[in-house]
Symmetry: C3
Subunit: 498 residues, 3 copies
């Protein structure tokens, strides 16, 4: 019998002082790897060793679809009912993913005797994960690229920000934004349209290889349009090639794009009580468990817990179902637009038409485009879904009090934006600025900050309990200070015009 | 005998690949749970499973007061000498806390046959933790709400920031700040006054329940005024219902409120060498140990180590005693006010009267309200207490050099504020701004930034070794840039007035 | 045989609920500690217990040079071939480091019978780590102090920021910056020149001790000039007295100085996919392994992985060699100067002379000082070194696409700075500002922000995949907004001048 104290020393030895690695060196199931995948690994283990070792860490290298199907309904991680025979009894290796639906893949090429797609798309992932694919495909995330570029208002904003400016004396000229610049900024999160423009030769250490010439690549934005025509990038959250649920579930993943100043969700979370407990306790949590059991696997909400994971109580009751439409538990939209409004009915927000004929959910004066937005009943259903998560730890009175405060914050933040809109209108009326492009002059940019940064921050700070973001950090302080600076700016411009 | 290498695999298996949970699933001591608490759990295990599982993780579910008393003086976590018999031999469950001092609790109600308080207050916690209660009750934290709302200067600042602004042509009107807005910003950290306004019916999934109707709720601010008249919220740092010392001790807890731009303590810590070591090593530290043994349980200072924990050396010598007056080791106040000054004698800072008759520790021109502030002797005693922590790892020369730099930073930051105060006075003198409300015009808001954001940052950056906050991040760069922009703003306003 | 389930409970017990410490309490090798070091410990174990326990955690307390030499070439952590006999067979204790090269140490003093240097310098560390010392000594980091203070342009910037300003009516006077202020800001990272000005008596709890009187101390800046004349501070990254490779390797260490707004490397990393994986997985990584094995010891790049560590694949192939010239894998310089440019040939950048005769790598109008900068060939070599790291996980096409985007970002960010330079020139030409000091007026400070904060952020965001920093967080948004506010500022100043 090993003594407690020896065990302590052994564990200390193991965990800190000694062995060369504590990353679990899983053995892939060699006899269940397809011959094709073995061929891939033969070369790639030496040319790109990092991704091969990532894959070996993954569940994909450990389980066949057949095995994955045997899990109980709540434990199941695949949602398709069946796959073709050749995929059923092998683990999910390189070839199994990179050889799917080749006819639709403009990025397909012949690679050492195999027909390979460069990009594995959500459509390909749907082979095993059909429900996740379907939920995602209808969401705002899937259409995040088109929601920018097919919307002339947003396109103008992108061009105004990302275009190189040329100065000649005191004239500023805005050049069209390069695709590079858009790809490194807005489209890095929203996604690019990856196209194939013929072939090219790449020179590697070992060989010259002909590969498809991809444009707008690399990119992992959530609304990427893939060479097979599908929308999205599962790898935005489940990074190659471990495709880990653990990584995807951490708030750091969401925090790559949902962060201040425009979408301060991650920042607010970090300074909330929930984030405080997460930071202090996360190492004790079981990040890979399916279902995710409240109080057993984790002790405080995370982004995933509230917005998409399947949660159960310790006694096995389902609290909320899994969804890969990340807006499915949201009823009001609190960022990215001039005023808050009910969530849109469709993920394709560029199809909205407001009273002014623009693809925006409200007018400049805050009239809602009701027919494109959730009804009060639909909003109530979504809110009640979210509240199921809250009510697992807080009583009804608490939760009601929380959302009463939140509703007020949303409303008052809108009023502060309205105040700035009126000042901007005055500036336009007095010809102190030109509304042809509403995004390129200082007074207009102050107005943008009011809704895109500060009103958002107040709403997020209120939604998730991060008071600094409702106060001094991009919150009420800035809303009030920016408004008074807009006012002074107008006075000074009036004087300069005299 | 289990082999080392097998053990490695077992541990890897356990900690990463396998079991559904690594959160310790402590068994509460069933035979020592009171019958009343058992009744609570019977329902709440299904209606609010999260908090029941939190409690099961807590020491409260593991130990009776009688057992807690048996610890050695340095290891003891309770400070009261005795409790009533009914509390002595049961673990600290729902009922034990929610049924105390019911007569003083305006939030008491009858709940399925039991007399229950909604809110457990610091006064209730003092049943077992009397010293912590007494230390805390006299501190600035306990009076954090009154220190804002009973001080007309601060009230005006809050109203100026949090009030909705209405714009009519070019006139801006500031409406009174709503209680919602104050509760989501300033009062979220400072605390609200929770009152009871009759009863209300809440509709839960299982029942309709009559509960006290609380106002300004939920809130966990440090200066919350509770329905039993007591001040503070222990849950601000020891979150419900694990009441964990581990969570409270992490800098993330302090970082919920002490963060940039107004109180950048957490931000500065994170980029200091101390924070660097914390981030790299924290997973190896023993966060729950009492006393906290330097070099054995932790290797670098944290907020708690310097400001309130009981620390001993490995040989058992006491370095500093525990205190729940978080200012007890502080001698100079470096944030939140126009100029730095000796710490106030009392936690009730609204009782200060300066030479101008205002409840501020200095005048506008930086004359100190000496009689309300620590004497040089008292300051020296406090500083020497703090230095005991520093001297555990640094030699005397080092520590002296550090505080010599700090003293200079405090002094020079004040001078930079004084410079901005002079510019503001000029603006007022020339009627470019109206000093009736000193917080609502652009030139005034620039002045606020100078002391509330930038001078603070320089002092914090210097106090804790985070040079970026003393330099480009809200530090000297902003102090100098903001001053020159104030100057230009005045010139332009002068011109516009002509 | 211990059962799995019991083991689980034991481990849970050990790691969370129970033992007073999980920091490995290594036993120093008592018989191999020199007598001198034993004397040091005898006192310092009680007067500065923290640093003694840090040392006990270190490899220095565990291994003699003789033992360290026996490692295989890739595993070796010492680079000197031999040391003197008295150092060879004892562990590396207090005396072994603090008694080296005493004749060159102006900070040497007699301390209880021993001849002790206060500061252990890189020159001292080179006794065992000669290669690291030599690589470092030629780097920009080693000369970071002189690169500021011997460069009149940078000196003027430092003085403009750090000097106390006095206001008299509407005149602002900039006093010379105090050495304290410089030491707490710029020099905290860049390093101070530590000098010895005689002796002083310090009063400790136990004794009055005569010690060297050091100036500009304490400091651990990377370019510190030490009392033995050597450059640098190994402790900037390897903190006293554990001198840990684990701590040095974490991005938190680099993040003490390389952070926003001027050098947002750490911030960008945290929000990149690489940082996302780091944050989610870091606890499973083996931070102390030498060599650092990709896929076995770590799964995603960190600062150290890309910029200085010795990396091998699981099969033992060297990916990149270790270097302590942290610029050795860099080809273009993207921060700290007006325009990007090829990395300088020498670490002493104050020796550069551009076409205007200034020690800057470009002129104000962006003409490069070519003879002081890397040739295209040298740049290509450096880039190819970095790409070896990228190519371990990404294919050639991906890596090429990434750097194509990066090159464009660097170029376009420069163009945006050029636009602001033209506006500033206009302001100077029209006498709206005075170019005698180009750093102290609002329009000039706006120009500084353009290159020192915003253009840098775009380049870093692009280099490491943190799109927020290329977009709204100090990126393109600010570049465009700041430019238009510069333009308005000029218009308003023109008007005020009329």
């Amino acid at each position: 019998m090993i003594s407690k104290i020896k065990l302590v020393y052994l564990i200390l030895f193991i965990s800190i002082a000694g062995l060369s690695s504590i990353i679990p060196q899983k053995k892939e199931k060699a006899n269940q790897i397809s011959d094709e995948t073995k061929s891939c690994i033969d070369c790639h283990e030496s040319v790109t060793p990092g991704i091969v070792s990532d894959w070996k860490l993954s569940r994909h290298s450990q389980f066949t679809f057949q095995e994955a199907l045997k899990k109980t309904p709540l434990e199941k991680r695949v949602s398709s009912k069946s796959v073709s025979d050749n995929l059923n009894t092998v683990v999910v290796g390189c070839y199994e993913c990179h050889s799917l639906n080749t006819k639709n893949h403009a990025d397909n090429f012949e690679h050492y005797g195999y027909s390979i797609n460069v990009i594995v798309s959500p459509k390909d992932c749907s082979t095993c994960h059909i429900e996740e694919y379907e939920q995602y495909s209808g969401s705002k995330k899937a259409h995040a690229l088109d929601n920018l570029r097919k919307n002339p208002v947003y396109s103008a904003l992108v061009e105004s920000i990302d275009g190189v400016k040329q100065v000649d004396k005191l004239n500023i000229k805005n050049l069209p934004a390069s695709h590079f610049s858009k790809n490194e900024t807005c489209y890095a999160c929203h996604g690019t349209e990856v196209k194939v423009e013929g072939k090219k030769i790449i020179h590697t250490e070992t060989d010259d290889i002909e590969v498809p010439k991809l444009t707008n690549w690399p990119n992992q934005g959530v609304g990427r349009i893939n060479p097979d025509g599908s929308y999205g990038a599962c790898t935005a959250c489940h990074p190659r090639h471990s495709f880990s649920i653990e990584v995807a579930r951490t708030p750091y993943t969401c925090g790559q794009c949902h962060l201040e100043p425009d979408v301060p969700a991650f920042n607010v979370y970090k300074e909330s009580k929930h984030g405080n407990i997460f930071d202090a306790r996360k190492d004790l949590w079981e990040w890979s468990a399916v279902p995710w059991v409240l109080g057993k696997n984790f002790n405080a909400p995370t982004c995933a817990a509230c917005h998409n994971s399947l949660l159960t109580s310790a006694s096995g009751d389902v609290i909320v179902k899994r969804t890969h439409d990340f807006g499915a538990r949201l009823w009001v939209r609190i960022f990215g637009l001039i005023y808050s409004h009910p969530q849109p009915k469709s993920g394709k927000t560029y199809e909205i038409k407001n009273k002014d004929g623009l693809p925006l959910p409200t007018t400049f004066g805050n009239v809602k485009a009701d027919e494109f937005l959730l009804t009060k009943d639909d909003q109530a259903k979504r809110k009640s879904e979210m509240e199921k998560v809250c009510l697992s730890c807080h009583n009804t009175d608490w939760v009601e009090g929380h959302f009463e405060k939140f509703d007020n914050s949303v409303m008052e933040a809108d009023k502060m934006v309205e105040a700035s809109t009126k000042l901007l209108s005055e500036a336009w009326n007095e010809k102190l600025a030109d509304n042809k492009n509403p995004f390129d002059e200082p007074i207009e940019q102050r107005w943008i900050k009011q809704w895109l940064f500060y009103a958002n921050s107040v709403r997020y700070g209120s939604a998730m309990g991060g008071p600094d973001y409702a106060a001094f950090k991009n919150g009420w302080w800035e809303l009030s200070n920016n408004l008074s600076e807009m006012h002074l700016m107008i006075r000074l411009m009036q004087n300069a015009k005299k």
